[in-house]
Amino acid sequence: MYQTTYHRPATLDEAIKLGSNDEAKYLSGGQTLIPTMKQRLASPESLVDLSGLSELQGIRADGGSLSIGAGMTHADVASSAQVREMIPALADLAGGIGDPHVRNMGTLGGSVANNDPSADYPAAVLALNATIYTNKREISADSFFNGLFETVLEEGEIITRISFPVPSKANYQKFDSPASRYALVGVFAARTDGNCRVAVTGAGNDGVFRMEAAEGALSASWSADSVGKNRPDPDDMIVDLHGTGEYRAHLVNVLAKRAVTAA
């Protein structure tokens, strides 16, 4: 790892000040950033640790939504009785990320801000039509993700909370890599106020995406048959040693049906 300077600000204002330059990086749980720095694939001059910020903590019901602080760990979300009661699919998703030790460190905000094309949370954010709150603004899920590892977040902008509308039905199905526990393909299907949304992670070569072709039929009738033969274009899929585009496109269809059936 190259040299870096570590800061742990106590206030959001201080964190914004410290992070508002292109040589700084925000550090949340660090479960992606630190391995990346160890491999010298990232070399920020300074790290701004967000773990001391009270604004990023807590899980609470907020009208018809569940509002989760960006600093809550995957273990916090997986074990929260409130998440379990309001959106059990989200608790299950969090409980399936990485391994127990990674879940004790990794956070919701870190995962969503990093937008790894194989991360689990982006699928939930998109399928549940969540709202991302930052120190500057609120951003809808549909306009937040911006391709591989890219989001619309600006320099010095910090996710503080994410608000998930509570669905009437939801389920996440993940076909994971047994080595990394990342999603080879993950599909989150949700029905909220009669509207259905299906989001796919791990598969798209441009990151998380919605399976819009199936959503209309699902809104009319929530059943695996409504997914039918819908599947993404294999040419738009990630191709790597784990699977071809054809294989991933097929998995998306299979997992979408399973998610709808299990929801």
Binding site: T4, T5, R8, I34, D49, H101, V102
Partner: protein
């Protein structure tokens, strides 16, 4: 450089470290507590698992500076003098190891597992909870047996 202070195995420690120092480097190289191992260095194997404020984490994937102000427990900190922790006893009695390199991480992961799930652990739960700990000798059978034995012993002692 930054000055960090934390509690490790019940003792207050303070040191000046480079900001980029990993927690595992600090534990092994500065404190000389070499029971915590570095197996893969890529956050997968779990040989470096320690507890930070009571929770199991991979100390190769955390900076020492992140642990400042916190309470750390390593494999050296779980026995009470010459009296081993029940998990250590169970790994000993059930030969829950082959080469032993992964054992400290396995034991620290087991402690966290029992703290979260209680002592009523079935094999499926144990195996899924061990996702973050790799035994490259592939000796999982006796590791699972050791964890079950530890859980039973701890249940009996309650």
């Amino acid at each position: 450089m930054t000055t960090i202070a934390m509690q490790v195995n019940g003792k207050e420690v303070t040191a000046d470290v480079e900001d980029r120092t990993l927690l595992v480097q600090y534990i092994r190289e500065s404190l000389g507590l070499t029971g915590t191992h570095v197996g893969c260095d890529t956050s997968q194997c779990g040989a470096c698992v320690v507890h930070v404020d009571g929770k199991a984490v991979k100390s190769c994937t955390m900076l020492a500076a992140q642990a400042a102000g916190k309470t750390i427990t390593t494999i050296e900190g779980i026995a009470d003098g010459d009296t081993l922790d029940p998990i250590q006893v169970a790994f000993h009695e059930n030969h829950g190891l082959q080469c032993g390199f992964c054992t400290p991480g396995m034991i620290m992961a087991t402690k966290d597992m029992i703290a979260r799930h209680g002592t009523d652990l079935d094999e499926k739960t144990i195996r899924s909870e061990l996702e973050g700990n790799i035994c490259r000798c592939t000796g999982y059978h006796n590791i699972v047996k050791s964890i079950q034995a530890a859980a039973s012993a701890m249940a009996a002692a309650e």
